[in-house]
């Protein structure tokens, strides 16, 4: 954990920042540098944070650079085959050791003084161990630090620096029920395609989290240009839509089809009709997937979601992404395209093309989101705006369903955003200032 912060230097009345039902939110939480620093400690050092997928490091020695909040880490598969997450900071003087995005190596050497670590994080070599330290350095005390816990779900690897954190399964909680419907559909699971889209948006990271957790409301106005030339509407893209908030603040948007629905409508993804090979493949594995998922989830089609705090899933375009916080007004987004591992190459290519043409910073249905978030962040810097922000859509329309875990609400609501900010408030309040 970071340096203890004196209470005098920092005190926040979270109740005044977020109303009890989270329908009113202070602009300050998107702009205040002290709140941002508190988020790094209260959320990014404590929650389970996504670091990558097993398929990024298939062979012993494979590694990929990643971040946990602002902390650079290395996702590495040891020569023993085990996946680890290493703090990318030399134990000697803190230097960031690995400066590349990916590679394969049995050892990593610090370019500064040459301390050399195994790809499993063990300190192996120290120049001048005898001459300089006179043998007075126990190497095993100076391995690269690792997070308190690392675990995976469907090959998606998460880590937390909080030794008291719940297990990943417990943390994901009710979200697993819905995540399975997106990721546990395919004979050999999923894999990430090579290539990561990485880009900077001058906005607060929470606008990313909100957008994928629930903000269906923006789509018709924000994406009106592409919707008007293609005839799309958010409602038609998400028929029978629901929002689900879980106890840990995860938010999922899904279609819940009636039993009499056409199985083709329930296929994961959007625009699959544009790629006959893709829809043929998805149909070929559908019966098996629906059998495995059971009758309730056979009728569920997850569209988007956010795993608290900063990991987004977009099964509708076969993507997952993370928002790395880079200050109150800066976010670095990394976006991947995932595919069924066992699908024919041609099917994987269809999925890639649908994602790349529609989503990401060059995507026909998404490009404008990022400048909107930039302007949201700008508006939240206002010193004179007196009213809190309004997140009250659909308030009071929450309901429980005996078949579906979590707290449900109609598609047209800001239910999941409120769930996100209630969890934000709880996590932020739990951390000593």
């Amino acid at each position: 954990m970071g340096q203890p912060h004196s209470a005098a230097a920092f005190s926040l009345d979270f109740a005044s920042l977020i109303s009890p039902d989270a329908s009113r939110i202070s602009r300050r939480i998107f702009a205040d540098p002290e709140i941002y620093q508190h988020e790094l400690r209260g959320l990014f050092q404590r929650c389970w944070i996504f670091v990558g997928h097993e398929s990024q490091v298939p062979a012993p020695g494979d590694f990929a650079a990643a971040y946990i909040g602002e902390e650079p880490v290395i996702l590495a598969r040891g020569m023993d085959g085990q996946i680890r997450v290493l703090l990318n900071s030399c134990s000697h003087r803190g230097t960031r050791i690995c400066r590349v995005d990916r590679g394969n190596a049995a050892t990593l050497s610090c370019p500064n003084h040459g301390w050399t670590y195994g790809i499993d994080g063990k300190l192996l070599g120290v120049p001048g161990l005898e001459k300089g330290y006179q043998g007075d350095l126990k190497k095993s005390d100076w391995d690269l630090q690792q997070p308190a816990h690392v675990d995976s779900y469907a090959g998606l690897i998460f880590a937390t620096f909080d030794s008291a954190a719940p297990t990943l399964r417990a943390y994901l909680g009710d979200a697993v029920f819905y995540l399975d419907a997106a990721f546990d559909r395919y004979p050999n699971g999923i894999e990430f395609l090579g290539g990561i889209q990485k880009w900077i948006v001058e906005c607060n990271w929470k606008f990313f989290a909100e957008n994928y957790s629930a903000d269906i409301y923006h789509a018709d106005a924000a994406h009106v240009s592409t919707f008007s030339i293609t005839g799309l509407r958010s409602e038609s893209q998400i028929p029978h839509g629901i929002q689900v908030t879980t106890a840990s603040g995860h938010g999922i948007v899904a279609s819940r089809f009636p039993e009499q629905s056409n199985p083709i409508d329930r296929l994961p993804g959007s625009a699959t009709h544009l790629a006959p090979d893709l829809s043929a493949y998805l149909r070929s594995v559908q019966a098996q997937a629906e059998l495995r998922l059971g009758p309730v989830r056979a009728l569920l089609k997850p569209i988007t979601g956010t795993i608290f705090p900063n990991f987004a899933i977009l099964p509708s375009v076969s993507s997952v992404r993370i928002a790395h916080p880079r200050g109150p007004h800066r976010t670095e987004i990394w976006s991947w395209c995932f595919v069924p591992a066992a699908a024919p190459a041609q099917v994987k290519q269809s999925i890639r093309r649908i994602y790349a043409s529609s989503f990401g910073p060059g995507g026909l249905v998404e490009a404008e989101d990022f400048s909107n978030w930039t302007e949201m962040s700008r508006g939240c810097r206002s010193e004179v705006a007196e009213r809190p922000l309004h997140l009250g859509m659909g308030l009071g329309r929450e309901y429980a369903d005996p078949d579906l875990p979590g707290s449900l609400a109609p598609l047209w609501s800001e239910h999941n955003q409120r769930g996100f900010y209630k969890t934000w408030r709880r996590c932020m309040s739990e951390v000593k200032a």
Binding site: G195, S225, T226, S228, T230, Q349, G362, A367
Partner: protein
């Protein structure tokens, strides 16, 4: 270089300068007309990597997403048309108000292409984007074009744009490279 080769380079340069001006002046329909119907437009993502054992050359190609991996763009002319139609709605908010762009094309190198008369062209692109009140973005990269002779000029058959950035310092790519 023979006189005819020199003339070829000159004609290619004039074509690229003309194309750049059409984009900077937002004459998108005229710009689209420069693309062959069977054309393809792509832009890989890129990354840094460790050299492999014994590797001393550090080829650029090994730092780019492969054609079957996730890039920024990989599309036929139909999608370029869709992008133009989107910009023309006046509601494509990433380009509303439209940014003021200036494309600088340099280091033009021309080699024979695959079919008769086609040419492969390498050039450097500096794209300066001035947006809203005072935001500025700069994209620097290399274009790899395949041009086909058409009338007394050329058509773009294939364009691959390789940006230098591994992480884009721009919120969107709602413009043409």
């Amino acid at each position: 270089m023979s006189v005819s080769e020199w003339e070829q380079v000159f004609r290619v340069e004039q074509f690229l300068f003309h194309e750049a001006r059409l984009l900077d002046e937002r004459q998108w329909d005229e710009w689209l007309a420069l693309w062959a119907e069977d054309s393809r437009y792509s832009m890989p993502t890129r990354f840094t990597r460790l050299p492999e054992r014994g590797e001393s050359q550090r080829p650029i190609a090994a730092e780019l997403s492969k054609p079957d991996e996730l890039g920024w763009f990989d599309e036929p002319k139909l999608l370029l048309k869709t992008r133009v139609a989107k910009l023309k709605t006046g509601q494509a908010w990433a380009e509303e108000p439209p940014s003021r762009t200036r494309r600088f094309i340099s280091n033009v190198e021309v080699l024979p292409g695959e079919a008769a008369g086609e040419v492969r062209v390498w050039s450097n692109l500096l794209l300066h984007r001035s947006r809203n009140e005072n935001a500025v973005e700069t994209f620097v990269g290399q274009r790899q074009d395949l041009l086909r002779p058409s009338d007394r000029s050329f058509q773009i058959v294939r364009r691959r744009v390789v940006l230098d950035s591994a992480v884009l310092l721009s919120p969107d790519l709602e413009l043409f490279f």
